[in-house]
């Protein structure tokens, strides 16, 4: 469903050109639960931005559902993000002025759904992530784990093909992190949702069926990674 070939991304800062990604090839299949692990500065966030259609590669092809997205206009990319990609961020990125329910509704607003339909969907998905009791709370009234559950609900409400999680447990304590990871694995197992997790934490990566590493702008997929858990 997602295929990257020869992805390069370089930034120019003044006279210096820095190459962050140096030819990344990656294929994600429907139903994958996959991790990309690497130290900071390895290019994992840049890769995630490209996969999430927020950034364009300097060269290389990015094919989403059989469609090359590299030449698309900004509006088309926005529509693709809205329909096909759900984001979960390390720092949750909920809008503080909106309730949990309203936050979850946002992707549907930009899809043009009617209000009652939006609220029904959002309510259902909040129930699924165990937040049925807190739909009217604002983010500052929620704990870290609860915020991340709301964020996951928001990422899933539009039924995207791919859920992109950037350090989803990075701001959580160990117990809460475990709960969030359990939720993601459940969603993958029960609903077949494709999940791509970016992390620097081996214990998070270890819970993924497919594990890859990124180093110096290149992606590696150790064949035996699943066995030893690192």
């Amino acid at each position: 469903m997602l295929k990257l070939t020869g992805i390069r991304r370089s930034y120019r800062i003044g006279p210096v050109t820095t190459e962050i990604l140096r030819g990344v090839d990656l294929e994600v299949h429907a139903g994958d639960l996959m991790s990309i692990m690497g130290p900071s500065g390895s290019g994992k966030t840049t890769l995630m931005n490209i996969v999430g259609l927020l950034d364009r590669p300097t060269s290389g092809a990015c094919i989403l559902d059989g469609r090359d997205v590299s030449g698309l206009r900004d509006d088309e990319l926005s529509a693709l993000r809205n329909r096909h990609i759900g984001f979960v961020f390390q720092s949750f990125h909920l809008l503080p002025q909106l309730t949990a329910l309203e936050n979850v509704c946002l992707p549907l607003v930009y899809r043009g759904a009617g209000r009652p339909e939006m609220r029904r969907h959002a309510q259902a998905i909040l129930e699924r992530v165990g937040m049925a009791e807190r739909t009217g709370h604002r983010p500052d009234q929620l704990s870290g784990g609860q915020k991340q559950r709301v964020a996951i609900a928001r990422a899933l409400v539009g039924e995207p093909a791919l859920l992109l999680a950037d350090e989803p447990t990075g701001a959580l304590d160990a117990d809460t992190a475990g709960e969030v990871m359990a939720l993601l694995r459940q969603l993958n197992a029960e609903r077949g949702i494709t999940i791509l997790i970016i992390t620097h934490d081996p214990s998070v990566a270890g819970q993924c069926a497919r594990q890859t590493r990124i180093r110096d702008g290149r992606l590696f997929e150790p064949k035996a990674a699943a066995a030893d858990g690192a």
Partner: protein, 399 residues
């Protein structure tokens, strides 16, 4: 269509909510626009009210008045009385003409001073041309030639009664040691300063024009006040009067002013005046608009992360732009409505102190609201555009 509507209505709800949250900033922005709109409203309304006021003054006396004077600085002698008396009969576009010879005097009754003012030598037609009415007796008649008879204005009559006169008609009034017999008393009349000639009837006395010729320092006709016929264009009346005098007194220079011409000129002037006042008000509106722009720029800068999140969730650039535009337009429209209320209140207060008739100009209210929305769009566009062009990656990383 439905997507646009869904996004716009969500944007409107959130814009209202966002304004409610940033309370102090919202109030400051409102005040700027409010002062701007209110000064435009007050200035334009006052301009219109002043124009309406002047127009009413003209209408009270009729806009068909034509005033003929000897041209200032023309070396020729004054307008000749016989020529002046025949204007109405000889010029077809003129229905009535009232020549006047003016002097001044001090009035005494029963040995006591009862005022001083104009001694106006007039004919019978002067009363009808100037819409003068009588409370007692009669006006000067054309058969009164050379008689020492007078009609007194309401102010003079009041003073005479104060000096002990119980019946004015028939009593004697001394004007600079010349005795006049009072034959009539005028009703009080408000002076219209908009007209090209002042009558000042209340403080004057009126005597037969031939009598005035004897006692006035300048025996020439000072002015002819005439009325043109119905449907006559003022330029035609002026041309007819000029050609009449060219035949009778070829070297006489004339200065002819018509009320219609004055009205037209005044309307043009008032138009400029209103425009000028509007321009002054607009300056404060521009200042208010810059305030809005400033506030919106701050708001955009504060909400970079929010904008980035929305973009990541699928908002297009134009969705972000409309969100901020709606916010600034809501802000300026509320400011505009408050400004209209404040502007009308200021206008009403000024009208109370100047005795003008307060009126609400629908045009100024409508244009006030329109202007407010336009200010919101114009000054909100740059911040909204800036918001829509923000890089979502930088916003998500908190840069």
């Amino acid at each position: 269509m439905s997507r646009t509507f869904s996004v716009l209505s969500a944007n409107a709800r959130e814009a209202a909510e966002s304004l409610r949250r940033a309370r102090l900033r919202t109030v400051l922005g409102l005040v700027g626009v409010m002062i701007g709109i209110s000064s435009v409203i007050a200035m334009v309304s006052l301009g219109e009210i002043a124009r309406e006021q002047a127009r009413k003054q003209f209408e009270a006396l009729g806009t068909d008045i034509v005033v003929v004077r000897k041209a200032v600085g023309s070396g020729a002698k004054a307008i000749d009385l016989p020529n002046a008396l025949q204007v109405a009969a000889a010029v077809p576009s003129i229905t009535e003409a009232a020549p006047r010879i003016s002097g001044r005097g001090t009035f005494r009754f029963a040995g006591r001073k009862v005022g001083g003012g104009a001694v106006q030598g007039v004919t019978r037609s002067f009363a009808s041309v100037n819409r003068l009415t009588l409370q007692e007796g009669r006006f000067i008649s054309d058969l009164d030639a050379d008689r020492y008879w007078c009609v007194v204005g309401a102010g003079v009559a009041e003073a005479m009664r104060g000096a002990g006169a119980d019946r004015l008609a028939g009593s004697l009034l001394e004007v600079d040691e010349v005795l006049f017999t009072v034959v009539g008393v005028l009703d009080g009349k408000e002076e219209s300063y908009a007209l090209p000639v002042q009558v000042n009837a209340n403080k004057s006395i009126f005597v037969p024009i031939t009598t005035a010729q004897r006692i006035a320092p300048d025996p020439g006709v000072e002015v002819i006040i005439a009325r043109s016929g119905a449907g006559v264009h003022y330029e035609a009346a002026v041309a007819d009067i000029r050609s009449y005098f060219r035949r009778r007194a070829p070297d006489l220079g004339l200065d002819i002013v018509t009320a219609k011409e004055l009205v037209a000129r005044m309307e043009a002037q008032m138009g400029i005046f209103t425009l000028l006042l509007g321009a002054v008000g607009s300056i404060s509106l521009i200042v208010g608009g810059i305030g809005i722009m400033n506030i919106m720029l701050v708001s955009v800068a504060e909400r970079r992360a929010e904008i980035a999140i929305r973009r990541a969730l699928g908002a297009r650039q134009r969705d972000i732009r409309s969100q901020f535009l709606i916010e600034s337009v809501i802000l300026t429209i509320i400011g505009g409505m408050l400004g209209i209320a404040l502007g009308l209140a200021a206008t009403w207060t000024i009208c109370r102190f100047t005795d003008w008739d307060f009126l609400i100009s629908g045009l100024s209210v409508a244009s006030g609201l329109g202007t407010a929305a336009a200010v919101g769009l114009f000054f909100g566009f740059q911040p909204a555009h800036q918001a829509s062009r923000l890089d979502p990656i930088a916003g998500l990383q908190g840069k």
